[in-house]
């Protein structure tokens, strides 16, 4: 006679971790056994399965299974599992945790993972209580029942988890009690083959706390109670699944439907647009080679002294873009140290828009324009706001139809152009900023026409390059004539 030494499920359990910490009669242990049986029977590739738990009695399960196991923080196993799955979609990711972990502190992750239909399998032990910490009230404690923090009886309504999960978009939702070993096992196998967010609630015996204090002292009492108070339906309606003392616990498969999962949805949205067929976090994707378009050579800058430029106008006039293009021209193509900042915060609201630019042939330390040498002003409101910055010998550029400079020192040089009018003549007032850029380029020494044009091309929307360059030339010509007059 041959004596078989190995327990049939030993392959899947970490023997060195036995005995486990679970109490006699606890439904977690039996559910764990059902999971192990399901994995055996389903012949899954065990190396590719990760099991993730949170905190609590059920949270210990990840530590007993002979799989890649993660015992994470309270409430976060689903979020953790999301990271695992999206990084390596070849993994099968099982979350095994309790009701407090998943539905109270982790409730937000539960509903959002269901909504996204992330392909993970969640086994939720619902024993109506926090066992690990001594039997406190949870979001699933039935109304009227005892917990160590509802000693007069619970006066809250518990979550109806199947209904919640169905509403959130989970594509496989089932409920059993820990007395239904066979059903649990089958459901797990079904969920393992299901692509999408799967949720199996196991109403589970915690004889030590919830049971003992609610007149179900032993595991046996609880199993008996479950068997006597369960109603299994073929197509149960999740709306009827609220657990109330005195009415049967509704069990069965509430939803089992095919719907693209998160990664499918992602691929459908992105693959065609980007020419990439797979998305995963571990970088194991071959990328198409593309033509190189970036600038790679920089000329050494000419010597200039540090110049602060303030650009201001109304939102919608393209002030930010104007500053950015100037910055690119000076920085990338002329080699100057250039700092560009936009105004953020409350000042940036209410229609005003301003940005600052500092250009120098030496390193620039201070990021902000504190005493602008040049102001480019495209609206009267902006002029009023920044008039205080105009000093002796300042240079200002204005849209002469929109800005009337008043009360400024005589030494200030004003360069005026009807930029908006010229832009309108070209067909779009929107390019007034580019007309101004041309004008500015003609008059100041900070960047050449070529540099400015290159910066325009790389900054404006695709397809509008030629139009913007025409606007630029208009402004530039105006500036050249201006210089002569």
């Amino acid at each position: 006679m041959q004596i078989k030494k190995e327990h049939p499920l030993e392959r899947l359990l970490r023997r060195e971790r036995m005995p486990h910490i679970l109490c006699t009669g606890c439904g977690i242990g039996t559910t764990m056994a059902n999971l192990v049986e399901a994995l055996e029977e389903g012949e899954f590739d065990l190396d590719k399965i990760s099991v993730v738990s949170g905190i609590g009695c059920a949270g210990r399960v990840a530590g007993y299974l002979n799989l890649d196991g993660f015992h994470t923080t309270h409430g976060r196993p689903i979020a953790f599992a999301t990271g695992l799955k999206l990084t390596n979609p070849d993994l099968t990711v099982i979350v095994f945790s309790g009701d407090g972990d998943l539905a109270a502190i982790g409730g937000n992750h539960l509903i959002h993972a269901a909504r996204r239909n992330i392909d993970i399998k969640v086994i939720c032990i619902n024993n109506f209580t926090y066992g690990m910490t001594g039997g406190q009230l949870g979001p699933t404690t039935p109304s009227g029942t005892w917990s160590s923090t509802s000693v007069y009886g619970n006066y809250e309504i518990p979550f109806n988890l199947p209904y919640l999960l169905c509403a959130c978009g989970a594509t496989y939702v089932a409920r059993w009690t820990s007395a239904h070993a066979h059903h649990i096992k089958n459901s797990i196998i079904e969920a393992m083959h299901h692509k999408g967010f799967s949720f199996i609630e196991v109403i589970s015996a915690c004889p030590v706390y919830w049971g003992r204090k609610n007149k179900l002292r032993t595991g046996k009492d609880m199993v008996k109670f479950f068997l006597e108070h369960t109603e299994i339906k073929r197509h149960p309606d999740p709306r009827d699944a609220l657990i109330q003392m005195g009415t049967p616990i509704l069990c069965g498969v509430f939803v089992n439907e095919k719907r693209p999962d998160y990664l499918d949805m992602m691929k459908a949205q992105l693959s065609k647009k980007l020419g990439i067929s797979e998305f995963r976090g571990d970088g194991k994707v071959t990328l198409p080679e593309e033509e190189k378009k970036v600038v790679s050579e920089m000329r050494p800058p000419k010597e200039i002294k540090l110049t602060q430029i303030k650009l201001a106008g109304l939102g919608g006039q393209g002030i930010a873009l104007l500053g950015l293009i100037m910055g690119r021209a000076a920085s990338i193509f002329e080699g100057y140290s250039t700092v560009y900042t936009q105004e953020y915060g409350p000042e940036a609201r209410g229609g005003a828009s301003s940005s600052g630019l500092i250009i120098s042939s030496r390193a620039v330390n201070m990021p902000y324009t504190t005493a602008p040498d040049i102001l480019v002003i495209m609206a009267q409101g902006a002029f009023r706001k920044y008039r205080k910055d105009i000093r002796e010998n300042s240079i200002i550029f204005i849209d002469k139809d929109l800005v009337r400079p008043k009360n400024i020192p005589n030494s200030v040089k004003v360069y005026a152009i009807p930029a908006t009018r010229m832009a309108e003549k070209l067909g779009r007032a929107l390019v007034a900023n580019i007309v101004m850029l041309g004008f500015f380029t003609a008059i100041t020494p900070y960047f050449s026409v070529e540099s400015a044009e290159k910066a325009v091309k790389m900054s404006v929307p695709k397809g509008t390059e030629e139009f913007n360059l025409t606007a630029f030339k208009e402004g530039y010509e105006y500036g050249r004539q201006y210089g002569r007059a």
Partner: protein, 381 residues
Amino acid sequence: MAKDVLTGIHFLSGNYACVEGAIAAGCRFYAGYPITPSNEIAERMSVRLPQVGGVYIQMEDELASMAALVGASWAGAKPMTATSGPGFSLMQENIGLAAMMETPCVVVDVMRGSPSTGLPTAVGQADVMQARWGSHGDYEIIALSPSSPQESFDFTIKAFNLAERWRVPAIVLLDEVVGHMWERVVIPPKEEIRLVFRKRPSKPREEFLLYKADKDLVPEMPIAGEGYRFHTTGLTHNIKGYPDTTARAQAPLVRRLVDKIRKNAEKIIDIEEHYIEDAEVILISYGISYRVCQYVLDKVRSDGLKVGIIKLNTIWPFPERRIQELAKQIRAFIVVEINLGQIVFEVERVAHGQCETILVPHAGGHIHDPEDIYNVIKDLF
């Protein structure tokens, strides 16, 4: 050229440069939650990651984002998230988990005025201590602080390398000004970017012990799905990774988590020194405040005052040895930071009365007025 390393000359904001640094470093997983002033990082990530076959996921909150990072890392990703003060507070929970499980990951905190909601759109530097010990318990992390978009690119790559090398969360402490300012950023050719990946198991499964550290105190790291069938936990654990909630297990574990950074600090620390040789007074600063200091330094040096400057590229671990050395040679350290005193206490502790330690504080909302720093220096001469 594939779209991963955008070799060439660019004009980028600090936030954008950070994204390019991450992608050049091999980051292909980002989980985050919107918050000002870090949003440009999430926005650009959502554009750039799909272009390189990576995953961008917008999570339901920062708790989830950080938990997803830890999961992603164990599946083989070099993951990153970005946030600002309030979100950084929420992330501390799973930053602690990452420290305990020894999980490489990068967290970018674009610092704004605080506490609480504080100044969402304006600068602060008051998360420095939170970066170090924001999660409960004893652990050490690595934090870097860029002062320009170029450094935002460079230091983000460095943060990934350090996270992978030492198996810790690496924090990039950007601030609102550096995050939002645009400057030239030169991205080198792909071949010239040195990348580090975590130490991989050198033994077969049967002999492998998850938390058995090498001489450098860092264990080898398997990845889920490779057949190692490992178990890891946030509980105090033994070298197998199994829970062992005893004082006996606690001491070697926590000591190693701390020592792997403290004992290797000199390999991690990166500071810059200028005009130190003849300095009687030394400015110490980081992030945007360093640039203001440099501006002041140019002025005082041309006044003939013997002032030097130290720039903390890495803030944590703290450069204790060097500061200690210098304390014996000079009259005073002047610490400039946008908070009411954080790094200054480290400097003071290390200087240990050998020289004076002076803080030039700022409550946040703006960078320092250079005059304020200038006046403190002038008073000393």
